[in-house]
Amino acid sequence: MSQYDALFEPLNINKLTIRNRIVSTAHAEVYATDGGMTTDRYVKYYEEKAKGGCGLCICGGSSVVSIDSPQSWWSSVNVSTDRIIPHFQNLADAVHKHGGKIMIQITHMGRRSRWDGENWPNLMSPSGIREPVHRATCKTIEEEEMWRVIADFAQAARRAKEGGLDGVELSAVHQHLIDQFWSPRVNKRTDEWGGTFEGRMKFGMEVLKAVRAEVGPDFVVGMRITGDEFHPDGLNHDDMKQIAKYYDATNMVDYFGVVGSGCDTHNTLANVIPNMSYPPEPFLHLAAGIKEVVNVPVIHAQNIKDPNQAKRILEAGYVDFVGMTRAHIADPHFIAKIKMDQVDQIRQCVGANYCIDRQYQGLDVLCVQNAATSREYMGLPHIIEKTTGMIRNVVVIGGGPGGLEAARVAAERGHKVTLIEKAAELGGQIVLASKAPQRDQIAGISRWLIMEVERLGVDIRLNTEADENLVQALKPDVCILTTGGRPFLDQNPEWGAAEGLVVSTWDILSGKVEPGKNVLIYDTICEFSGMSAADYLASKGSLVELVTDDIKPGVGIGGTTFPTYYRSLYEKEVIMTSDMLLEKVYREDGKLVAVLENEYTAQREERVVDQVVVENGTKPNEALYYALKESSRNKGQIDNEALFAIQPQPVLSQDAEGMILWRLGDSVSQRNIHAAMYDALRLCKDL
């Protein structure tokens, strides 16, 4: 055995044996399309986790039990119809085949949704109070509707059972209908469904009774609850202990999942899926508090990312099961790698929250750094097999995420790989990204890639700027250009970049340019770099105004990430100004004057500052590409049909002389880490 024994001690939930203590907790995957039916993609996504050793998967975050709890926004699983049953059977088989267990979270979202689509329902809530995060207005739920929803819960549980799943989890967390009833913050009723403690508990209790009656004593029924809503008018930790005890006393709940924080404001929502700005396991104490008062196993997830942390938590007995949800999104082979004594090879979640930020936009959940996740069904592998074909000489130019991923995959395939990087270190723009306060963990993405390429014996040449001659001299069979981009400051000559009047966020984050005292940042992109530069400058003591022509600074950043930037920027008194275009910068009396113009009124304002920083995206570094293009046998072209279908590039099987040339990542056009790595993986996996 190993130091990780604590992870591998099986434990029963009700009569169900879970092979280890690691759980992938419920998350809305956004893969259940076609009216909420689980797809091949969905099944393969979970099969991969089971294959990778995960003990229990609770799938179907926020799967709806009723037709008036909209399903389509997040393509969550639709458990309101018997049509789902055969789909469940496929899912259950796929997971069981690998020894895993699978349950589903079922819920009625109440007011926590959008009404403007699908069946256009009136959303319902105990007291008709609007939910701000989804801008969701709602009606006050009536008793007839309550009993219908209670019956819907029971039917949904039956469908899960008939479909061969191992259990259901009732969501009473993240402000869904059950905990909307619980919370005095939103339950203002004075009838038997509110007011007193018992009154507020009644809806959930009726749901539990109905579900238990339907599925019998042996089928697992769990409950996910908050440990503290963190709202003065909401449920605090003592309230939650009382509630947990109350439900536990029924002996009808087989486990409790505990989440720290409420979720009905932007700021609390960010707590729920803590991004990289949070410390490890920030809310473990809340789960441990609940464990003190209940007699069944307790599961807790929230920023538990590495095996040692999980082991420590389990050994100390804070909880019985450790949720490692994003950890499994980033690496579904997490457990298998521990078992293979390859802990170093685990791709650890960095808390970039690309996954959840996409989910909140109704986009399919993807991992910023693992392009294979949820694309298993298309044939994208997590474990890359060696080629049985010819061994090629592969040269990759540029050591950003795209280049590193290309080098890694090519080396896993068994090719001879050389990676050339101009800078003194690998990582590309991630190096800059990690310089900002609270963003240092993003470097985990490149750290893992670097460890892998080193392990795989890639010939890494730093401080080497590749030019045409260097590439030709290496005589590559395949040359992959991932030279990234450079700040695009000369779009408007009036900014005066050529005269050195403005600098880029890269100059600031890299330390190339000292922070000014009084700084204006003009950010047309509204993503990480502008916000990061503002946070960085403010943390160095600069007075910062962050100006954008967009509707608000950081608007391009997802729902669990902009709040943590805002916390930091407001605290440091950064002024955020929207709707202003930077027209011109000029020097006057040793100071810089920035001329701003309101997009909607054309009114001009001037700011006198020491430093103007412009974030206007990047322009691709494509000179080397054009220098090599003509001499390459594919003229630098990538066959998009094959690429999008995740098929081998036809040029690979053509018998011809000469170098194959591909270019990907920001060196083609500015996109992001995932885009660069996805292309690298799908191109190189068939190399």
Binding site: M1, S2, D5, F8, E9, P10, T17, I18, R19, N20, D93, A94, K97, H98, G99, G100, I338, K339, M340, D341, K386, T388
Partner: protein
Amino acid sequence: MMFDWLTPTLIAVLLVLAGIGAVRRMNLWRAGQADKVDLIAGLMAMPKRYLHDLHHVVERDKYISRTHVATGGGFVLAMLLVVFVHLFGVDSKVLAWLLLAALVMMFYGAVFVFKRRLNPPSRLSKGPWMRLPKSLLTFSITFFVLTLPAAGVLPEGFGGGLLTVVLSFCILASLVEMLFGMTWGGPMKHAFAGALHLAFHRRPERFGGGRSTGLKAAVLGETSHGVAKPTDFKWNQLLGFDACVQCGRCEAVCPAFAAGQPLNPKKLIQDMVVGFAGGTDEKYAGSPYPNVEVGNAKGGPDQIITDGLIHPDTLWSCTTCRACVEECPMMIEHVDAIVDMRRFLTLEKGDTPNKGAQVLENIIATDNPNGFSPSSRTHWAADQNLNLMKDVQQADVLFWVSDGAFDMRSQRILRAFVKLLKAANVDVAILGDEELDSGDVARRLGDDATFQNLAKRNLAILSQYRFKTIVTTDPHAFHCLRNEYADFDSDLNALASVEVLHHTTFLNRLVQEGRLQLDTFKGGKVTYHDPCYLGRYNGEYDAPRELLASLGIDVAEMERSGYRSRCCGGGGGAPITDIPGERRIADMRMEDVVSTGAELVAVGCQQCTAMLEGVVEPRPVVKDIAEILAGQLIEEAH
């Protein structure tokens, strides 16, 4: 001729001296403990054992086997005829001619012995053994000349006085070596002791192609356990030691010796002889224990062996791989002797080195060597849906999981095997937490009490259930169950009609029966490492190779493979006692692997897997055959 009487007298005197020597030698052996041996049957069987079994081993070195037939055969025949012709003076030309022929044969052989000794390999002992070819030549030439008159080739009394003196001297010299030396203790002793050793061998089952590898049970509850002093050995073990020809074949195959640990099986046997005969090792003229000077070891029949004769580290260096036993032309049983002496160290002195004592304590407290909680034994199978015997009571196959259950690497082998069993729809069950450690490690570390306790308890559990076959992925448990448990099973008959199989054997049957659909293997070159406890201990060399062949793998064999496989270093508790050497055995084995150019080494043992995977990377990948097969399994679509 005036000295007519001289030749017969010399022969007679030396025959008498040889007789005295023999009595002395036999008394030395008889100081050992009694052992039940059928003396008459043994003697009757001896010639066949010599001609067939012993020769089978000698045959492996063609040069020496031919040489030995000529020299040894020639001498035996010649000596008999010398007695008739020259001692009793039987006047027969036929006999004389026969004698001449025998002597020519012997001479011919002796020339080759002589040649080998011109530049002997390091494994051969020097010293008196360098003299032997000269003695052989002298004997054959002298008696050839002496016999010429009897054959009528030369006149009686030819040559005159000088020749007579020379010849008489030669007679004396060669007969001292060949007759007196044989019994008193020269190199020729091997012929005398060897012949009797064959007759009274402690493991007669080994003759006629049989295999007898299970250790003999220690008699518990006696005043002293194990072998403390030479006379604690059985008398026929002492006799066996005396049979050693110091050929050093054991030395050449011993992994501990090669790794520079302080063990040389040849020297060990010679030290045993020093022990029971009394004296020091200063005359020993072979390779020493690595890094241990020769000449300082002293012993006597009633002196504690580990007080001055052999350092305990020598005994703890042995991996019990049986390479020496397999290779020994005299069929000497090194491993028995080593474990006998370990029993004393462990049971009487409590001196099991390094982690040994801890491991034994663990086994006693938790029924497994690493002290894991016994209730975690079946954790690995939480997701395997395996039947437990206690639930189903019977099954076709009992899968003996063994202590790999506690080890994450080994669990991969277990899971792979289960996957294959399921694919072939085998009706299988496991004992779950009822299974205990097989006792292998305890036994090899000399703690036979714990071994016997575990064996009896395991047998008691096994006897509760019905099954036809036990299959295990662990060759050590396999060996215990198959070869060692029977000594304790006479009451329960738990295993009486049960077939115990290694998983490779069982899987091979499944493949032959077409019950597993396997894809051809497309990876690179593959070699196979024979685990000692599967190969030499149990003779299973074919099934693993056939399985690999069934995947289309053409095994790139190592030079040391099959019965000559080199141990991985993991047996006999050696990783636990961990006696330092110059190199690690596993590293040497990995070099063997690397020299085949293989990218993958297939094994059939969790311990070998652990040892070989412990070698620093880069190195070939190590996989159990079950894992390789499971990787190629074509699963039916669901």
